[in-house]
């Protein structure tokens, strides 16, 4: 009888029911999408950095000990060994070439900068610009590399560190343009649109600032410029000193750790044909003699922070969406209770207890939550796909575990939202209602 009454009653006022269900569905859709994304952030963090982020560091095999302070190489430009830029295309000819997702060469040059004199000190007199030594990091943003097989491979920081945050736009690799680290920009009061003159010895470049970059790493306090500019300033055309490679690799295991020179030919083949970091490094060394390849696992703080922030934003949005849905449910159920006062009064006159009246009401709300939850989940999955593509470049994995969670959430929201109307419903006094008030 209970279900008969609930289902009979459920079929009434389809417009309002649809409205409530829609509010719930919308809330649940947003919740599903954001939860999907928020949950994915953690997973994605790990996977993303392994698959897209640089995980191999290439340096010259015979190099002087780097003089690094705070991650910046302070060796003079003529000290240490360099690698030829022209050979980089060969990386796309190794057996696991398709697992080389991207790479970016780096060349650090200490430079003197002259702040734009327009701002800063106004009166200063002659030569009113102050000079300071800063680090200029030359690299590629999105550079077209000639591969020996005749094809071209476009790569650079855009593929090794896609999460670097830039206010403004990236420099173009062939232009006299630059990105300024957020810390440096603040320190020197530099802005997008300014022109920054960098000087190393006799050579100088006037670079247009196209953006402010924040990475959470050493770049925040440096000048980021096209590799060509750095090479010219350093007086080492077509040379670089460090190369970050991002390669899709298989996690290391006991087999991958073995010394290839002590393997049987069959073992060697198997090892060679598995995308271990070790075997990919080995293949790279075969193509580019004189390099040393090291595996790095850097989940830089800043990168993590950004995604974590995305994650917490998602939680916030989820909460807001649920809250809004609860409000909407509250509004519609308040109207329902008002409308059905006489019916509730009658039921109480006939001997229905508060609990029975509440149970009818709760059952209806839960039924609505079920409808809204299912619809919302379906919509949310699609939303998550779009969001995921926007944030990660691919759809998040569908988590079926979210389905029951979303249904429960929908139920909780539907009930919380109608708590006050429900309380009022259970307290309806039958006498005045029956008198027709």
């Amino acid at each position: 009888m209970f279900f008969r009454i609930v289902s009979d009653s459920f079929a009434r006022k389809p417009r309002r029911k649809a409205l409530t269900a829609a509010a719930l569905a919308l809330g649940m859709a947003v919740a599903t999408a954001t939860l999907e994304v928020a949950l994915d952030v953690g997973d994605r963090l790990a996977r993303e950095f392994r698959s897209l982020g640089a995980n191999l560091l290439v340096t010259p095999a015979t190099d002087t000990l780097p003089l690094e302070i705070g991650g910046v190489d302070y060796r003079p430009v003529d000290a240490g060994a360099y690698l030829p830029e022209g050979e980089l295309g060969k990386l796309k000819t190794i057996f696991w070439r398709n697992n080389i997702v991207g790479f970016a060469p780096f060349l650090d040059v200490p430079v003197e900068i002259a702040s734009p004199s327009a701002r800063g000190n106004q009166v200063g007199g002659a030569g009113a610009h102050d000079t300071a030594r800063e680090m200029l990091i030359g690299t590629w943003y999105s550079h077209s590399v000639d591969v020996p097989d005749g094809s071209k491979f476009v790569t650079g920081v855009s593929s090794t560190d896609p999460w670097w945050h830039v206010d403004g736009r990236w420099f173009s690799d062939g232009a006299e343009e630059t990105l300024i680290g957020a810390g440096l920009a603040q320190r020197k009061n530099l802005r997008v649109g300014d022109t920054l003159t960098v000087r190393s010895g006799e050579r100088a470049h006037a670079l247009a600032i196209t953006g402010i970059v924040s990475t959470g790493g050493r770049e925040d306090n440096a000048i980021l410029a096209p590799l060509k500019v750095a090479q010219d300033l350093a007086g080492h055309p077509n040379r670089y000193r460090r190369l970050l490679v991002s390669a899709l690799t298989k996690p290391a295991d006991a087999f991958s750790e073995r010394d290839p020179s002590k393997m049987t030919p069959a073992e060697y083949d198997r090892w060679y044909c598995s995308p271990y970091i070790a075997s990919i490094s080995h293949q790279m060394q075969q193509e580019l003699p004189g390099i040393e390849v090291r595996a790095i696992r850097q989940v830089a703080e800043g990168e993590g922070r950004i995604l974590t922030r995305v994650g917490s934003l998602m939680w916030l949005v989820t909460f807001a969406a649920l809250f809004a849905a609860a409000l909407a449910v509250g509004a519609t159920s308040a109207t329902t209770v008002l409308e059905r006062r006489s019916e509730i009064g009658l039921m109480k006159a006939l001997g229905a207890s508060r609990r029975t009246v509440s149970a009818f009401f709760i059952a209806e709300q839960l039924l609505l939550a079920l409808v809204g939850g299912i619809a919302g989940y379906a919509i949310g999955l699609e939303l998550a796909r779009i969001l995921g593509i926007g944030i990660f470049g691919m759809a998040p994995t569908v988590r079926w575990i979210l389905f029951p969670i979303v249904l429960v959430l929908a139920g909780v929201v539907a009930l919380l939202g109608s708590l006050m109307p429900l309380e009022r419903a259970s307290r309806v006094d039958p006498a005045p209602v029956l008198r027709g008030e």
Binding site: M1, F2, R4, I5, D8, S9, A11, R12, S342, E343, L346, M347, K348, A349, L350, G351, A352, S353, R354, T356, P430, A431, L434, R435, G436
Partner: protein, 222 residues
Amino acid sequence: MTPLVQVENLEKRFDAVRALHGVSFEVEAGEWIAIMGPSGSGKTTLINILGGLDHPTSGRVVVDGMEIGELSERELTRYRSDKIGFVFQQFHLVPYLTALENVMLAQYFHSITDEKEAAEALRRVGLEDRLEHLPAQLSGGEQQRVAIARALINHPKLILADEPTGNLDEENEATILKLLHELHSAGHTILVVTHSQAIGNLADRRVELEHGRLARITLPVR
């Protein structure tokens, strides 16, 4: 034998309004009482208190050995479903439930539903072929018959009817009267509020109220 209903010095105030005061009377089991009086004299108020829908301000109301004024809300709910069958002037059926379901609703609140018994109750009021109709598909008289079937379904000690024919034409009034008569013959105790002399004359006794006071108890002129 103790009377089924004892009302002693009953008083009911709504703020300044004294809807009832100094009302005392008794009803024996199986009696048919007509409660009469001009509009605003307190008839509905009296019925509501007897039915456990309202609390007396003072005085004693004992029904079937239970003192109504002392019952908690939960006990009143129980009391209503166990001891009372209500019939209202406006019928008060649940609009989205069929005739049969409306009767079963009372069963559900009382204990468990029994579709056969509910159908039998509707047959007794002559609606055996209208079981699956919604209230909107029934005439006023038919709706009131459904309400009577609903009032009877849990075998109440007391049937309380507040102007059950107030919204009906003469023909339907006659049908309802006949039904009440049958119930009375079957031994039910009935209190019916009415303006109709016809009903008043059918009852065993007439309790007449005026300005919230018991004016007189008269015997019908037959």
